[in-house]
């Protein structure tokens, strides 16, 4: 830990002006809040878009939305939620805030690059939002942006929308790379005295491995984005085949649309885990703290995160069964897809076993964490269905897939986001979020999302196709499916409106919330042991903390408190058996 010894003597360069402190800030905590607020604002845009789509599906013609606007809303909803909300929030928001605090560092190792990362992210958001105001509007190619249709006349937004989308993604990837280099280097180099890799909280492990995935997988999106941009702007033929459009032959020749799909999904599947691994880490910490019990199988949990990360690079083509492939490849990708269920199931078992005989506190963060386990399980199980070629092909273009990925990739991570915000909000602001509003928000969100997505599995099995703007005059779709769609829309709108409770709570409690003190959850991990709450610039005062144990010493027999902070020495309390580093 030579780094920590030297880092203690670093000048802190306290920012003095308003701009240096809050706008052009290089402090990881401010950058985290900037990332989070921007990502949440983007999430609200995507939420409104989904409400508009649901109105069209549940009550066709009830709002002024033509098919063009529908496809544009669908595309922007998907891309914003996956990239600009979830990726940015988990890595840029939670990663930035928690990594230095949890490993005992004063800041990220490259603070200036960290600041640039946020401003590049904001620029990518602005470029994306500009596409709503350009001629032709935003792209309506679907969030996967498959060529040739993404850049061929007839698809909404082929004038400027697709160009802005691709430029925005390229800028986002540069931002994510700058942030990612910071996260991995901080974890590897800037840990404090005694903080070995296997004493780090699982949150840090989740974000660390997810960041490595991001550094290696985002280049695939970068490559495909640049090549498609060139196809669109200067007429190259990387992805565009010989084709006719509106009766005339286009000048493209020989390009391979399937090549784009391979590149896109080589990014796209690790992206699922770029979102899921931080969520796994965060939820592990929530469960351990609020069940007052050490995490079950800590080392197994770490290796499961690593195994999932590695396996996530060899499953991408399960998104392409309907595109057609060599049956042996289909078999290979089905096998790898099913294999990834092993480390994932291991995590679910370990969360459950952590709860077993725990002193479970049904606080708001815990409610969200429990809801996550159930939701992830449901979404994961339907993933096993879709991982098989013969099941996937008939279901691929139905609402069953919509239900699956919203459960596993939408609802589950968002539940963790909420749980984590309720959990760490007291550290960020020094005040508690209102508990009653929190519980109301939880129950409406949790039950509401099930009322939305459970029926979607059913209508998917009925054969109801996804991506359709209008479902009139299809005889194979029964009336009951239309009724269910209307019901889903009503619930979706209610759940959407209920998020205002959360926003109100977030801003109201920042000023009027109950003061929290430094460690309201009586947690053992390092971020709760800062001398000030909220932590000041430099986090730790004159000297860095010294770590003597892992972050999960709860319910240790013979102790006055039911937790032992990571900074307590072995003389004060025995080091737990789970921590093998002593």
């Amino acid at each position: 830990m030579a780094y920590a010894e030297d880092a203690e003597h670093d000048d802190l360069h306290q920012p003095r002006s308003f701009y240096a402190k809050y706008i052009w800030s290089q402090d990881h905590k401010v950058i985290a809040i900037q990332y989070s607020l921007t990502a949440i604002a983007m999430g609200l845009v995507a939420l409104v878009l989904s409400a508009m789509m649901r109105m069209q599906i549940g009550f066709p013609g009830s709002i002024d939305m033509d098919s063009t606007a529908y496809y544009q809303a669908m595309t922007m909803h998907g891309m914003i939620m996956v990239i600009y909300l979830l990726t940015a929030l988990f890595l840029g928001g939670f990663g930035n805030y928690l990594i230095p605090l949890m490993v005992g560092a004063r800041d990220m190792v490259f603070p200036f690059v960290n600041m640039l990362s946020y401003w590049f992210y904001l620029l990518s958001v602005i470029v994306l939002l500009c596409s709503f105001f350009v001629p032709g509007g935003p792209t309506g190619a679907g969030w996967t942006l498959y060529p040739p249709q993404a850049i061929t006349s007839g698809t909404p937004g082929t004038e400027w929308g697709i160009i802005l989308m691709l430029v925005s993604l390229i800028i986002f990837i540069i931002a994510a790379t700058m942030g990612g280099l910071n996260y991995v280097t901080t974890v590897l180099q800037a840990r404090t005295h005694g903080m070995t890799l296997f004493r780090m909280p699982l949150t840090v492990w989740g974000i660390f491995v997810a960041t490595i995935l991001a550094l290696l997988a985002f280049p695939a999106l970068f490559v495909s984005g640049i090549m498609m941009l060139l196809d669109k702007t200067i007429g190259t033929s990387f992805f565009m085949p010989d084709m006719f459009s509106f009766g005339s032959q286009l000048e493209y020749q020989g390009g391979s649309p399937i090549l784009f799909q391979h590149l896109f999904w080589f990014f796209g599947h690790p992206e699922v885990y770029i979102v899921a691994l931080p969520a796994f880490g965060l939820v592990s910490d929530l469960i351990s703290v609020h069940a007052r019990k050490c995490i079950f199988g800590y080392r197994m949990m770490v290796w499961a995160i690593v195994a999932i990360g590695v396996l996530s690079f060899v499953v991408w083509a399960h998104h392409m069964y309907v595109s057609g492939m060599n049956p042996y490849f289909g078999f290979f990708f089905a096998v790898t897809t099913l294999v990834i269920a092993v480390p994932t199931a291991l995590k679910v078992y370990n969360w459950t076993l952590t709860l077993w005989h725990g002193n479970i506190h049904l606080s708001v963060p815990m409610l969200f964490a429990l809801a996550f386990i159930v939701t992830f399980l449901v979404g994961g199980l339907t993933g096993l269905f879709l991982g098989n070629v013969v099941v996937d092909i008939p279901l691929s273009d139905t609402y069953f897939v919509v239900a699956h990925f919203h459960m596993v990739m939408g609802v589950a991570p968002i539940l963790v986001v909420f749980g984590a915000i309720y959990h760490w909000y007291p550290k960020i602001t020094g005040r508690m979020l209102n508990d009653s509003i929190g519980k109301l928000h939880f129950w409406i969100t949790f039950l509401g999302t099930y009322l939305i997505y459970f029926p979607m599995h059913y209508i998917g099995l009925q054969g109801m196709p996804r991506r359709y703007y209008l479902f009139e005059d299809y005889q194979f779709i029964p009336d009951s499916a239309h009724s269910l769609n209307a019901f889903i829309t009503v619930v979706a709108i209610l759940v959407g409106i209920a998020q205002l409770l959360f926003l109100f709570n977030l801003f109201y409690s920042a000023f009027r919330g109950k003061p929290s003190g430094g460690n309201p959850w009586r947690a053992a991990s390092l971020e709760w042991l800062t001398p000030d709450t909220p932590p000041k610039h430099g986090n730790w005062g004159p000297s860095l903390p010294v770590v003597h144990r892992w972050a999960y010493d709860y319910g240790v027999p013979g102790q006055a408190e039911d937790f032992v902070p990571q900074t307590a020495s072995a003389e004060l309390a025995p080091v737990h058996e789970g921590d093998k580093n002593q």
């Binding site: 003597h9 280099l181 590897l188 290696l216 970068f222 490559v223 990387f238 080589f266």
Partner: protein, 222 residues
Amino acid sequence: MYTNSNTLYLSRDKDFLRRIKTAKTGLHFLMAAISSMFLLFLIAYILRSQVSDWEALSQPWQPLSDTGQLWFNSALLAVASIALEYARRSIKDLDNSKLTRDCMLLACAATVAFLIGQLLVWKKLAAMGFMASSNAANAFFYLLTGLHGLHLMGGLVVLTVATYRCKRLAFELQEPLRLRTKSSIELCATYWHFLLLLWLGLFALLTGSPESYAAIAKLCGF
């Protein structure tokens, strides 16, 4: 805090070691991300090359059958890389600051010459009518050499700052300045070696024969 200049230097040396180690870790991850990007381009290139419209630029009647200019450019980049390696070794000794400065200036000049050389190849191709839109092989050539050049230009910004520091170092022998310069040179040297290797890989790819592409594609199961 520190009582004498020796302790001060010792502390600064330790601080330097910590910072260089941190920066090197960051650089290694950056190089991993860049490698991932070019590896994916390689796969895309091989896959796209198997479509019948592909006209490899290395065929006897195509412009890259004569690789003289590209070899010359490669030599320039190799000179830059070797010069930086010399600079990295020479800065360990304070007496060598002038040699370090000369090596850095040579590295800068050779890199700029490499970039100009690449632009000349672009110009030659364009003058012969080999535009990016006329064939995917041409498009890949412009794209891959362009992206490689952009990465080099990014490094050139850091190299220029380090060279300026070296120039100052030749006149004022300051320990902190030497450590900062040393750190920059170490990073630049690693990055330049990486970009040289990357370029040699790209060179081999872009001037490879259709038979080689077909063999690799077959090996990959395309």
